[in-house]
């Protein structure tokens, strides 16, 4: 169990705590205003300065001996910020975690505050130049986004019911996208993204720069070596290259260090060889988020 769960999940996963989704919480922290300000300025978030430095060339800056350390500290402090008045033009308190389809569906069916919308993904928009409707937002954030036309899809209705949202999550997962759930800002949860690498800003920071913006899921994949037929279908699904086909043994192997526990690879396997198991039951990877 990660440190956010310990503090806010009342002994369970942090994203399973209904309190973190409530409109009351949003009102208490005046988040309507905060989120409007943040989303109006969203594309500029990397360009703004953190500790006097912009994120431009972040990979190189993090390698510098002293400045690199200071910058890493400043970025992680910002992301994990729990201050009462976060700064809307930065990513204060924007922490997330990978979740499998099943958990995302529980959130959407029971916990998420209405209205639920599915908008264009901001990361793909600013990093790949495409409009892709896959970000599921709820509560106060939905109302904020509806006022910002560049996020509102043209091809399909953006307001969706709980049932539609659950269906969309299933389609995204089967399509190879990874569901992630987000504090924005801490302690209010208002988004389930469906991410891919390298377009997703969070995956970029975590994968390429090892910044703890997003943790691995509470689960990890378990391969049944006897059931695997070596069809290689699952290999193409993993956004972290955690699966590889080995010709001499005619099956796949898993790099458990790389597995984020998203469960997306399961959807490709027709032989029931891939299962998600709780991370804490997997020797050696308990506590590795």
């Amino acid at each position: 169990m990660c440190k956010w769960c310990m503090k806010h999940g009342i002994g369970q996963k942090w994203y399973m705590n209904a309190k973190n989704y409530s409109n009351q919480l949003a009102d208490e922290h005046n988040l309507q205003e905060y989120l409007t300000e943040q989303w109006m300025n969203f594309e500029a978030v990397y360009i703004r300065k953190i500790a006097g430095l912009s994120s431009k060339g972040l990979g190189y800056k993090l390698q510098m001996p002293v400045i690199g350390k200071v910058l890493r500290w400043a970025v992680e402090r910002m992301i994990h910020g729990t201050i009462r008045h976060p700064n809307p033009i930065r990513a204060d308190g924007h922490i997330g975690q990978v979740i499998p389809m099943e958990d995302a569906q529980i959130i959407l069916s029971e916990l998420a505050a209405e209205p639920i919308v599915e908008t264009y993904c901001m990361c793909r928009k600013m990093q790949r130049g495409v409009n892709y409707q896959c970000c599921i937002n709820f509560g106060v954030l939905s109302e904020v986004l509806e006022k910002l036309p560049r996020f509102i899809p043209k091809e399909r209705a953006h307001r969706i019911s709980r049932e539609e949202a659950m269906e969309r999550i299933e389609q995204h997962n089967k399509n190879g996208l990874v569901s992630t759930v987000w504090y924005q800002p801490y302690p209010y949860i208002n988004a389930i993204c469906n991410c891919e690498s390298p377009e997703c800003g969070a995956l970029r920071l975590r994968n390429d720069f090892d910044l703890m913006i997003m943790s691995k899921a509470e689960y990890i994949i378990d391969l049944d070596q006897d059931k695997c037929q070596g069809c290689k279908e699952c290999v193409a699904m993993c956004q972290w290259n955690a699966i590889r086909y080995i010709p001499s043994i005619k099956r796949v192997i898993i790099d458990y260090n790389k597995c984020f526990g998203c469960g997306v690879c399961r959807h490709a396997c027709k032989h029931d060889a891939l299962k998600l198991i709780p991370r804490k039951e997997f020797h050696g990877f308990n506590g590795h988020f």
Partner: protein, 84 residues
Amino acid sequence: MGKTKIKIDYSKCGPDGNVDPRDCAKCLNVCDPCVFLRHEDLKYKEKNIYDPQHWKITAIWPSVCTRCYKCVETCPENAISIKW
């Protein structure tokens, strides 16, 4: 590998150029590791997301550039240059 320096000539694309990066975006599309970011220029005090002059491209993650040169070849305005 030494540092990769990617420069965008803003007199050709973006604030002072005649291309609106929101219409073109070819560099974003062609770059496999997503080195580029399309964003609002911070120099304007008054925000106006509809004004093409307010948008520009920055090569934000040069450290993941594979030096494939696809962006340089693709850019219709020859606005991108790469050095290392």
